[in-house]
């Protein structure tokens, strides 16, 4: 009996090792790791775009979707081959530090301010800074993600543009949930409250309740995306050729058209603006 157990253990060990060895072998065909953001992935863009890219080039893109800061950090560590985020200042720093090759603009989407249809703070229009001033003045309820995401960073910049220092003097109705876009919208829907959100999440959000878009179209609400190939000088294993193919394709006619073609409920989400 006991020799039988020893044999069983040996077999189990070999089986496990074989399974572990098999997997890396499969990974040798054309794959790419892309670090991007949760809001981009959740908008559904990648589900639409990447199959087209694969058709065109045969390359499988594996998207690791995390917060903007973490995505750039992933690139710095060399754990991704290409980085695709929406924080121009941070991206330019990334390239300046030598972690990325050229930064190329790809597309923009925009943020919108949603709120209760009754609009107690009278924010409706296309001036986001004015809207924020009115919200602060009327102590209307406002839900902020407060999670250091790209959306949160954009929101804070706009409060600054409105002349309000959130860190020092929060308006009475300002609520910080430390949560993702979906839960923040849920909260806004039930309170009700104003919420600063990206259009993509809003378009696929099902639990709107009384909320509607109140402020849109302000240039300051535009959210610019950029793509960068991770610098092989820092991380020699980076699949530079494949990563460059992605950067080239997404800024090419074919890629830009694919981006424009992505719609939710008939509404276009992302607006291609590559410099080609």
């Amino acid at each position: 009996m006991v020799p039988m157990i020893r044999r069983m253990r040996r077999v189990a060990l070999l089986g496990v090792l074989a399974a572990l060895c098999a997997a890396p072998a499969l990974a040798q065909d054309k794959t790419l790791v892309m670090a991007s953001t949760t809001s981009t992935e959740q908008s559904g863009l990648f589900g639409h775009l990447l199959p087209l890219f694969k058709q065109a080039t045969g390359i499988d893109v594996r998207v690791v979707a995390v917060g903007t800061g973490q995505a750039l950090d992933t690139g710095r560590r060399g754990d991704a081959d290409v980085v695709f985020v929406h924080d121009t200042v941070a991206e330019e720093k990334f390239v300046a530090e030598g972690f990325g090759l050229k930064r190329e603009p790809v597309m923009y989407n925009d943020f919108v301010l949603v709120g209760p249809a009754s609009d107690p703070a009278k924010t409706k229009g296309n001036d986001i800074a004015a809207a924020f001033v009115k919200i602060a003045a009327s102590n209307a309820s406002f839900v902020s993600r407060a999670d250091k995401s790209g959306t949160h960073a954009a929101e804070l910049r706009l409060w600054q543009a409105a002349g309000i220092d959130i860190a020092k003097a929060k308006p009475a109705g300002y609520k910080e949930c430390g949560c993702g876009m979906g839960p923040a919208l849920n909260m806004g829907s039930s309170l009700p409250a104003y919420v600063f959100t990206d259009r993509g999440t809003w378009l696929s959000f099902k639990n709107r309740g009384d909320l509607t878009i109140l402020v849109e179209g302000d240039r300051r609400l535009f959210n610019q995306y950029g793509v960068m190939v991770v610098n092989p000088a820092k991380h020699p294993h980076v699949k530079q050729a494949l990563a460059q193919q992605f950067a080239d394709w997404v800024t090419s006619r074919a890629g830009q058209d694919a981006i424009a073609a992505y719609k939710i409920n008939g509404q276009q989400l992302f607006f291609p603006n590559a410099e080609r």
Partner: protein
């Protein structure tokens, strides 16, 4: 409440429509956790048996360390493994970050203390009854310990199921080292976390129900196998 009823209905719908994406995710969850438990069992049972009988300076410290690691948060394991496997880390050349293999490694590390601590207890309790007899028959301390594990194999099975439960239900480690890549490293728990952060709570809950259902099915099969091969045992247990 409404959303729970909705979720149960949605869960049923997911199961009956045999959604291919869902079953791929379920399959990956089971494969990763089962492999991790197999590796963890190999290491953990040997470690537990050895800790039960070994006598050396620092032995008590080793037992204390294993017992304390029972409370290791999964996200901490994930972070440590991430730092090890990152290209900027010592094992970066393996290139397995953001793949299922990294997830297996992280979950194995997670379950080894659990299996070691519980199997050590099984061995000690067994040796209290039969340690003398096995020594009399000529068994070395380690042989006695391993024989106790064979003797208490149903107890060992429970330990294995406990470890599997810990592995399949954790989200912190696999999220960090796997990256929750759609179609590649997305497992049940990371999918649930994703749907939750998207605000789609009924779907998240439904996925949770599916996960529990699958694990319940596995346990049911194991119980049925057990009672078929040990009819007499039921009388004594």
């Amino acid at each position: 409440m409404n959303s729970i009823a909705d979720s149960l209905a949605l869960a049923w719908q997911l199961i009956t429509t045999a959604d291919a994406a869902l079953w791929r995710i379920v399959g990956l969850s089971l494969r990763v956790s089962a492999t991790a438990c197999a590796i963890g069992a190999l290491a953990g049972l040997c470690l537990g048996a050895w800790l039960a009988v070994a006598r050396f300076r620092g032995h008590r410290a080793a037992v204390w360390a294993v017992n304390s690691l029972l409370a290791l948060p999964s996200v901490v394991v994930g972070l440590v493994v991430y730092l090890l496997l990152s290209r900027s880390g010592p094992l970066g050349s393996w290139g397995i970050l953001f793949t299922p293999n990294a997830m297996v490694i992280a979950q194995s590390i997670l379950v080894v203390p659990l299996i070691a601590a519980l199997s050590r207890r099984l061995v000690l309790d067994g040796l209290r009854d039969g340690g003398d007899q096995l020594r009399s028959l000529g068994a070395s301390p380690l042989q006695s310990a391993l024989l106790m594990l064979v003797h208490e194999r149903f107890g060992v099975l429970t330990v294995g199921l406990t470890a599997f439960g810990r592995a399949v239900s954790e989200v912190g480690a696999v999220m960090i080292v796997g990256g929750n890549i759609d179609g590649f490293t997305r497992v049940m728990t990371t999918a649930i976390a994703l749907e939750t952060s998207k605000g789609d709570l009924p779907l998240a809950l439904a996925l949770g129900v599916v996960l529990l259902g699958v694990v319940g099915l596995i346990n049911g099969v194991i119980m049925a196998m057990q009672s078929r091969t040990s009819l007499e045992r039921e009388v004594y247990v």
